[in-house]
Symmetry: C2
Subunit: 312 residues, 2 copies
């Protein structure tokens, strides 16, 4: 454990990222185990949809959202069992959005996480239904845990946070703006509006879900919201930079894809240097929100740095 000096800016670059990566893996394994149970293999007539759900859900990926949920829950000494169903529901929502975004009628991507996209393997019809099924399943899981009658207020609040973040005022709304912006010049403000909805709100909901399930106070929830909001923005800027200059092999999908599709990104709008500068500032803002948690925030700080330095 690194000792805290007077300010968190001292901290940046001093977190042992190996610890961070180990913990990301540990949380990720918990999530994978539960996802595997929530969507089992099935020998029913509609078994193809179970296969298709598992294909995309268990395809790897960084599991940033559910990791955030579990990590924030642990920051506030929560019971991880209460956070896990929400973490899994969020990962299902994220996965469904990727499957639908990859469809020919949207981003038309053939590869995702180094594998063929869902519709390339199962066909477009099944891919649409697989997305639908994952969204529906996410809610089924959350409703199931309401039935035990315990901590109902907290659970309902988390569910609403997630549902709102994934709907038209959140992820879906952002995707609409993205789709509508194709081929047009998009200024920084619109880009930010779009991404804060398309990816930002669900990342915020992931972190806030961890805080609420752990019974964190409103002030602390606010700090976590601010951390995750900047983290989400940084995540998107980094994605745009990698999409422009990353190595295809590490990325698992084609480089330069956004530019070919005439998509506006932080790189096309701001230029590469300015995008990198904004990434640094945003990562720093993210970390600064955690100041009052002192060394207990080490993992979340490491996570922000890990995302800053990632190559895929």
């Amino acid at each position: 454990m690194v000792k805290l000096e007077s300010s968190l800016s001292y901290w940046m670059g001093r977190v042992d990222l190996n610890n961070t990566i180990d913990l990301v893996k540990k949380y990720g394994e918990v999530i994978n185990q539960y996802l595997n149970e929530y969507v089992p293999e099935a020998a029913v007539p509609e078994k193809k949809i179970y296969e298709a759900m598992r294909y995309s859900l268990l395809a790897g990926g960084k599991r940033i959202r559910p990791v955030l949920t579990l990590a924030v829950n642990q920051l506030f000494d929560g019971d991880m069992d209460e956070a896990i169903p929400f973490a899994c529901a969020i990962e299902m929502i994220h996965t469904y959005s990727l499957i639908h975004d990859d469809l020919p009628a949207m981003d038309n991507d053939d590869y995702r996480r180094r594998r063929l996209t869902n519709h390339k393997v199962f066909g477009e019809g099944i891919a649409v239904l697989t997305g639908d099924a994952l969204l529906n399943k996410a809610f089924e899981i959350m409703i199931s845990i309401l039935r035990d009658g315990y901590s109902l207020d907290r659970k309902v609040r988390v569910m609403y946070e997630i549902a709102n973040a994934s709907g038209i005022e959140g992820m879906i709304g952002g995707q609409v703006v993205d789709l509508e912006s194709e081929g047009k010049f998009v200024d920084q403000e619109t880009l930010r509006y779009m991404h804060s909805r398309k990816t930002g709100r669900l990342i915020v909901a992931s972190a806030v879900a961890g805080a609420i399930t752990a019974g964190a106070g409103e002030e602390d929830i606010g700090k976590i919201r601010s951390y995750a909001s900047n983290l989400g923005l940084a995540f998107q800027i980094k994605d745009d930079i990698l999409s422009e200059i990353g190595e295809q092999e590490k990325l698992g999908k084609r480089v330069g894809n956004d530019r070919e599709k005439n998509k506006s990104t932080y790189v096309t709008t701001l230029g590469l240097d300015e995008a990198k500068r904004l990434l640094d500032i945003t990562t720093r803002s993210s970390i600064e929100s955690l100041e009052s948690f002192k060394e207990r925030a080490e993992f979340l700080i490491g996570l922000a740095e890990f995302l800053l330095h990632r190559e895929n």
Copy 2:
């Protein structure tokens, strides 16, 4: 009000269908008013998705599912205000499933309810997102009403019933079997399995939602479940018959479409006469489940007959 004789079989054909139709309209208007409020017009950057949601959601349609919810709620002297959000959520789920089913990758239909299908007007990308948005919104509405803390057990039970009926064990599963069966011979058993999931389970959930929100007892819920299960089957058989022999003008979509697409229906599997016979038997079974409710069931009986005789 028609006087009840010793058995409900006496009743069939004696309900004044004009009363039934008036009440269907009255309930339908309540639903339309709330749907219009739940998905308002919006002047935000993503306004196109609001337009697309409203285009399909407010396109008319028989509103059978939400009408069932309200009517069953009233049969048990429920507070209609408690049933309305669930009725609207169910109609949103039904509408999203139609939008996705109509996509080129699935049924590839150009017309629905006498209008161009969603993807023909807004494009395939927006149509996928519109379906996603309606499913998500359905859950947002149901979660919202959990926050008032009233009748929580009943509400959670209704939500689970709906979520399960619309997921892989219900509607989506049925649609997968449907998609997988295209171009293959399908026997009556498989057809029944497919339809009981694809349309049956959500119709049952609609009726059961009405009963649970009104605080009906388990035995009565069982009778309603049985009624709705047969009603759903009858509804599908009638759909298949209309799709084969209905008048295109009244139907609002092309006749003979199923046959051209090599889709198995009750008509292609059983032949027209046997399909009509099964429709009669099923409608009768549906009505018989209501025997103990005596004349209070008049509307639900009328609804079954109305669906039996409908021309679109």
